[in-house]
Structure formats: structure tokens, C-alpha cells
């Protein structure tokens, strides 16, 4: 080893320390960047000759030092995949919970403004009429209360239908985001492959690509697999949407109105294949669109139908002041088309015998407020029972979704912590590394000074002993 090779060796140390400081500073500035994975400089020592001799070094060959092999990205694909899957499940639960929570608010139960209390007032008004048969005011109250019941059923039905439409337009927006992410990811695959072939650093691109995969998981429960060239292919439960630098558009088909949601359910497809979405926001939206909201709407229709049948069954046995019988009070078969037939409070058919001024049929309609009476008339549970069942089952569903949501939040937090523990930046660690690299740089510089002094001794001081 000679003084000259020492310069080279020390300068490789300085440049390695500089590269390491570059990586450290990159880590520090990105401490809060979402999806950033910390980077480490991998160095390797360059072999020293087995025996140092004056000849080997004078040949000018490079024989010692350190080289930067790679700037590696600390990243665990398994942890990242489980974080993405947990996030996908969380997104599915959250989107379904949001929709059903606002559907639940439509019911405004328990309280004085819900359908139950409107129905109770409706039945009460019949009893009041029974107490004063032939009273115009009492008759008008019955008509008004009946209109209130019909209006509330209409607005419930319309409210659920409007929520369905909102959820569907959210799904349309979500599909366009899936397609945007898929196309971005395909482009990134291409850039990353090109970068890796030409040996350019692609760590930041890899982080961006992981973020896109996470986004696709959260949108539609997509998962990814890497091919031999380092390109990610992405599929949603087996239906591939990205391979290499190519991507395929996801499309939304099916009903665009709640009335057709059961016969023609909204479906995501890629080309001719149906995408079996099982997690991600899309899964929550699809579950609401295909099952929850249509079944809620169907239950509300069922309540309306039971009310129409029960009231008409009793009402048709009554005689109107003009002697007519077998009249109908409500027309329609569901919550959308229920209407009140009589328009005047004086013409109600509430007498048990023709030609009498009697309120016994009004009393019998009022008695439908009692569940067992309604059950007796219909042969099946009455409208109030149906309404309570609907409220309870929606309440139970929202409650269990909220429980699942808090459980899943904890799962996502744990998965995120695991990713962070692996790939996150710890400032204390970076500070320590920074000092370490700074010292390494200083020491290498010191080696150069020392080598310089050695040469100075050799060149300027040799032969001057005693001067």
C-alpha cells in the first residue's frame, strides 16, 4: 500500500458516506410521507491485495475501498399485502355502514315522529269518529290522519330510493377511480421495469405503486402478484385488471333505479367477466344496492300492503250514509302508490247496518291498533308488527356492522403498525445514522490529511535529517 492508493481508498469512503447521508436525508424529509418506505445504503468492501508490495500499488490498479452496492428499500410485501387486505375489508364495512346508518335515520324511530306514532294517531282518529258517528269534523280528522300515514309511507319509500340512487352514483365514481388507478399502475409498471433495466433508482416509484395497489384494494378488494420482471399484476378475486403495462377497464352495468334492483342487480364486469367483488368500498356499495336497500324498500311496501288490506277488509263491511257497502278506504298495494279513496269526512262507510247512524265499523278499524286484532283480520301479523320488525332488523344490522367496523379498525391499525414498524422512518435512528455517517466522512477526510502528511514527509523532508 502506498500513499497514493490511500487517497483513492479514503475518497471511496467519503463518497459512500455521502451517499448514505443522501439516503438519511431522504428518509428524514419523508418521515411523514404516506406510503414512504425507508431506504438504506448497502455497502461492500473492496478487497485489499493479499500482500501489499510497492510493485502492485505502483501499477495504479485500484485495490481498496468501499463501494455502494445498492440503495435498498426496506419493504415487506407480506405485511403490505395484509395491510391492503385489512383496509379493503374496512372500506367494505364502512361504506355499507354509512348507507345503512342514514337509511336508519329515515325511520326516525323510536320517537313521536316515526310511522308507529303516525299509525297510532290514525287508529285513534277512528275511535274518535266511532264516539261521534256522523260528525263531520271527526270524519275529516280520519281522512287527514290517513293522508299523513300515506305521505309518510311515500316519503320513506322515496327516501330509500334516493339513497339507492346516491349509492349508485358513488359506485359510478368509484369505478372511474378504479380505472384511473389501474391505468396509472400499468404505466408505473412500465417505468419501473425500464428503470430497473437501466439501473436507475426506482424506490420512489415502487412506493407510489404500492400506494396504488393499496388504493385498488380499498376500492374493490384487489390483490396483486409480481412477475419475473418485477411488474405487478392486479386482480379482483381472480379477474385480472392489470398485467404488465396493460390494463382493462371495469364497467358497471345493471339497474339504475331501485325498482329494478332485484331483477337486474348492479354488477361490475371486466369485458365479458363478472367481477366477484368481496371487499373494498365497492363491495359495501354493491351489498347495499343489491340486497339491503331493496329489501328495506320491500319491507316498507309490505307494511303499506298490510295496512291497506287490514283497513279495507274491515272498512268494506260498513255501510255509507248513501247505503253503499263494500267500499275501499285505501287503494294501492305498496308504499309508493298507497292513496286514500274517500275525500270527504261525511261519506265514510262506518255503519254496521244500512240506513243507520252507527260507528261500530269505525271502532273496528280503530281496534286494528291492537296487534292481535290486526292479526285476526289479516291472518298474519299486522302493519305495526311489520314496521317494528323492519326497524329492529335494520337496527341490529347497523349495530353489528358498527361492531365489525370497530373490530376492523383495530385490525387495520395493527396491520398499519406492522408496516410502519418495518418500513417507517424512526427519527432517532436516522439521527444516529447521520452522526455515524458524518463521523465516517470526517474519518475518511482525516485519512487523506494523514496520507498527505505522509507524502509531505516523504517528498519534502526526506534527506533533510538534521537540517
Amino acid at each position: 500500500m502506498t500513499g497514493f492508493s490511500t487517497f483513492n481508498t479514503a475518497s471511496t469512503g467519503m463518497s459512500a458516506a455521502q451517499r448514505a447521508l443522501d439516503a438519511t436525508s431522504q428518509n428524514i424529509v419523508n418521515v411523514n410521507t404516506p406510503g414512504y418506505s425507508r431506504q438504506r445504503v448497502l455497502t461492500q468492501s473492496i478487497g485489499m491485495p493479499v500482500a501489499a508490495s510497492i510493485h502492485t500499488s505502483l501499477n495504479g490498479s485500484f485495490i481498496g475501498g468501499v463501494s455502494v452496492v445498492d440503495v435498498s428499500r426496506i419493504h415487506n410485501a407480506f405485511l403490505e399485502a395484509s395491510r391492503a387486505a385489512a383496509g379493503a375489508r374496512q372500506a367494505a364495512i364502512t361504506s355499507q355502514t354509512d348507507i345503512l346508518t342514514s337509511a336508519q335515520q329515515l325511520l326516525s324511530e323510536p320517537g313521536d315522529t316515526g310511522l308507529q306514532s303516525t299509525l297510532d294517531s290514525f287508529y285513534s282518529s277512528w275511535h274518535d269518529l266511532a264516539n261521534k258517528p256522523g260528525d263531520t269534523a271527526a270524519g275529516s280528522v280520519v281522512i287527514q290522519r290517513a293522508l299523513a300515514v300515506a305521505d309518510q309511507l311515500h316519503s320513506l319509500s322515496n327516501g330509500v330510493s334516493a339513497q339507492w340512487t346516491t349509492a349508485r352514483s358513488n359506485l359510478v365514481d368509484l369505478v372511474s377511480r378504479i380505472n384511473q388507478s389501474a391505468s396509472d399502475l400499468a404505466k408505473l409498471n412500465e417505468s419501473i421495469a425500464a428503470g430497473q433495466q437501466s439501473g436507475k433508482p426506482v424506490n420512489e416509484l415502487l412506493d407510489t405503486r404500492d400506494q396504488l395497489v393499496r388504493q385498488l384494494a380499498s376500492l374493490a378488494g384487489a390483490s396483486s402478484a409480481m412477475d419475473d420482471l418485477g411488474r405487478l399484476s392486479v386482480n379482483i378475486n381472480g379477474v385480472t385488471i392489470v398485467t404488465g403495462n396493460e390494463w382493462q377497464a371495469v364497467t358497471l352495468s345493471g339497474a339504475d333505479d331501485i325498482t329494478a334492483a332485484v331483477s337486474d342487480p348492479p354488477t361490475l364486469s371486466v369485458g365479458a367477466f363478472t367481477v366477484p367483488v368481496q371487499s373494498g368500498s365497492a363491495a359495501g356499495l354493491l351489498a347495499s344496492l343489491r340486497t339491503d336497500l331493496p329489501s328495506l324498500s320491500g319491507s316498507i311496501d309490505g307494511v303499506a300492503d298490510r295496512l291497506v288490506t287490514a283497513v279495507n277488509t274491515v272498512y268494506s263491511t260498513g255501510y255509507a250514509p248513501n247505503g253503499s257497502t263494500a267500499n275501499t278506504f285505501f287503494s294501492g298495494t305498496d308504499a309508493r302508490n298507497i292513496t286514500v279513496v274517500p275525500t270527504s269526512g261525511t261519506a265514510l262507510a262506518i255503519a254496521a247496518q244500512p240506513g243507520t247512524l252507527d260507528g261500530s265499523i269505525a271502532r273496528q278499524v280503530g281496534d286494528l291498533a291492537v296487534d292481535s286484532v290486526a292479526q285476526g283480520v289479516l291472518g298474519s301479523p299486522g302493519p305495526s308488527v311489520g314496521w317494528r320488525e323492519l326497524t329492529t332488523s335494520l337496527g341490529v344490522q347497523v349495530q353489528s356492522l358498527k361492531t365489525a367496523q370497530s373490530v376492523q379498525d383495530a385490525v387495520v391499525a395493527a396491520a398499519e403498525d406492522a408496516v410502519q414498524a418495518d418500513a417507517g422512518v424512526n427519527l432517532d435512528e436516522e439521527m444516529t445514522n447521520m452522526m455515524q455517517y458524518q463521523r465516517a466522512y470526517q474519518a475518511s477526510a482525516r485519512v487523506i490529511t494523514t496520507a498527505d502528511e505522509l507524502l509531505d514527509t516523504l517528498i519534502n523532508r526526506t534527506g533533510k535529517v538534521g537540517l
Binding site: 308507529q116 297510532d120 243507520t356 271502532r363 281496534d367 329492529t392 410502519q420 424512526n426 427519527l427 432517532d428
Partner: protein, 290 residues
């Protein structure tokens, strides 16, 4: 939180999650306290929601039964008054018969007694035509407003008028005209008055009025018994309604002392979490490097 490697971001996110959880609980309690209700959405407690709906529905029915009973007892009171007066008038009529049968009464006096009798009969007709809320109380469900016409013909139809006083009890709130003698008494009285005008009342006339009196007395007893039943049921239903109201409150309303305690405890937890967060995030390695 068992990760081997902890980063500043992990700490920040854990702290944030904890604070978020604390704040959510504080907000829930605050919402319960400000609304006074423990259950404001079905999902808060589905089973409490369904009991609440059932209880509210039953309370609404009870309130209606109470209204029905007020109408029923109004009508029964009017009927009771009418029957009492009827009985009073019939007794006056009976006195006139006794007077007419007194041997010392001359023909002119008999004519005067007959005129008196006709006046009492008119009063009896008016009493049979008593109305409650414009409905004749002895007429059943007839559409007209008179039970008996001026000639004494009974127009009523004896159809029952009933009121729902509780979920499983119906009370008949009318007295059928035939049970109060509306179909026979006016004719009988007219006949007796005619007999008196023609010379004097007989023993059969006295017996006929006694029979009418006993019919009315029976009807009166019946009305009294039914009024008592309505008033008893009223008390029961009212007690039931109060019980339902308190059960609704237990079911839905927030337990204020408990909620206040929970809120204070939760606020203390939130404050200590905030303080801990402030302390942890204050220091870093940089504070010790010079």
C-alpha cells in the same frame, strides 16, 4: 403495539387513535346528556327500540281508551239523568191516577186531572227524546233526532251503541228504547189520560204505571252498573298508562347521574391522554445533540 420497532409516526398515530376514541366516547355521552335520551337510533339498542315502540303504541291506545271512556261516561250520565227524571215524572203521573180514583172527585176535576196527565205525558215524551251530542240516547242508531214522535210512536231501532274501553272490553253505552219503555209508556199514558177524561182511572191503569216505573228503575240500575264499570276501567287504564309512561322513560331516557359520572370520568381520561401526548412528543434526540 408489540412491534419491535417503533417510529415517530407509529407513536403519533397511536396517540391520535387513542384521542379519537376518547373524544368519540365523550361525544356520545354529551349527545345522550343533551338529548336526554339513551336510545336515539334503533342501532343504539335494537331491543330497547322495539320495546319502546310497543310501549308507545300501547300508551297511545290507552290514551284513546280514556277518551272513549270520557265520551261513554258523558253519555251514561245524560242517560242516568233522563231516566231519573222519567221515573220522577211517572211517579207524578201515578199520583194523578190515585187522585183521579178518589171517589170525591167530580167530573170537572177529572177533566182537569186528565189535562195534567197529558202535560206530564208531554214531559215524558221530551225525556224520551233526550239527546247527547245531537244523538237521541234511546234511539239506538237511527239517523233521525227523535226517539218518539208526537203521537207516541217509537222510532228507535234498538241497535247497540258500544264503546271500546280497554283492549279487550266493549261497554254498551246506550239504553235501548224498548228497555226504557219508550215503545209502550207514551201509549199507556195517553190511554190512561183518555180513561180519566172519560170518567176515571181503573186499577189496571195503576198497575200499568207501576209496570212502567219498574221498567225505568231496571234501566236506571243497568245504567248505574255500567257507569260504575266504566269508571273502574278508567282507573285501571289510567294506572296502566302511567306505568307505560314510566317504562318508556326507563327504556329510552338516559340515567342522568350515571351519564354525568361517566362523562366526568371520560373527560379526565381525555385530558390525561392529551397531556401524555404533549409530553411524549416534546422531546427528541435532537434536544440532546449539540
Amino acid at each position: 403495539m408489540t412491534s419491535s420497532r417503533i417510529t415517530q409516526r407509529t407513536v403519533a398515530e397511536t396517540t391520535l387513535r387513542g384521542l379519537q376514541g376518547n373524544l368519540t366516547r365523550v361525544q356520545n355521552l354529551q349527545q345522550q346528556l343533551s338529548s336526554g335520551r339513551r336510545v336515539s337510533q334503533p342501532s343504539d339498542d335494537p331491543s330497547a327500540t322495539v320495546s319502546s315502540m310497543t310501549l308507545r303504541s300501547r300508551r297511545a291506545a290507552d290514551e284513546q281508551y280514556l277518551r272513549n271512556m270520557e265520551a261513554a261516561s258523558g253519555r251514561l250520565t245524560v242517560t242516568d239523568n233522563a231516566l231519573t227524571q222519567l221515573s220522577d215524572r211517572l211517579r207524578a203521573f201515578r199520583d194523578l191516577i190515585v187522585q183521579s180514583r178518589n171517589g170525591a172527585v167530580g167530573a170537572a176535576s177529572q177533566a182537569g186531572i186528565a189535562a195534567n196527565m197529558n202535560a206530564v205525558r208531554d214531559e215524558v215524551l221530551d225525556l224520551y227524546n233526550t239527546t247527547y251530542l245531537d244523538r237521541p240516547i234511546f234511539g239506538g242508531t237511527i239517523t233521525g233526532s227523535a226517539t218518539v214522535d208526537a203521537a207516541g210512536t217509537y222510532l228507535g231501532n234498538d241497535q247497540p251503541v258500544e264503546a271500546r274501553v280497554s283492549a279487550d272490553a266493549l261497554v254498551r253505552i246506550d239504553v235501548p228504547g224498548t228497555a226504557a219503555g219508550a215503545d209502550t209508556v207514551p201509549g199507556t199514558l195517553a190511554q190512561i189520560a183518555a180513561n180519566v177524561a172519560a170518567g176515571g182511572a181503573g186499577a189496571t191503569d195503576l198497575a200499568a204505571v207501576d209496570a212502567a216505573l219498574s221498567t225505568v228503575a231496571q234501566a236506571l240500575g243497568d245504567v248505574g252498573a255500567r257507569a260504575a264499570r266504566v269508571s273502574q276501567t278508567h282507573d285501571l287504564v289510567d294506572a296502566h298508562r302511567l306505568d307505560l309512561t314510566s317504562r318508556i322513560s326507563v327504556n329510552e331516557d338516559v340515567d342522568l347521574p350515571e351519564a354525568m359520572m361517566n362523562l366526568s370520568a371520560q373527560q379526565v381520561a381525555y385530558q390525561s391522554a392529551l397531556q401524555a401526548a404533549a409530553k411524549i412528543q416534546q422531546v427528541s434526540l435532537m434536544d440532546f445533540l449539540r
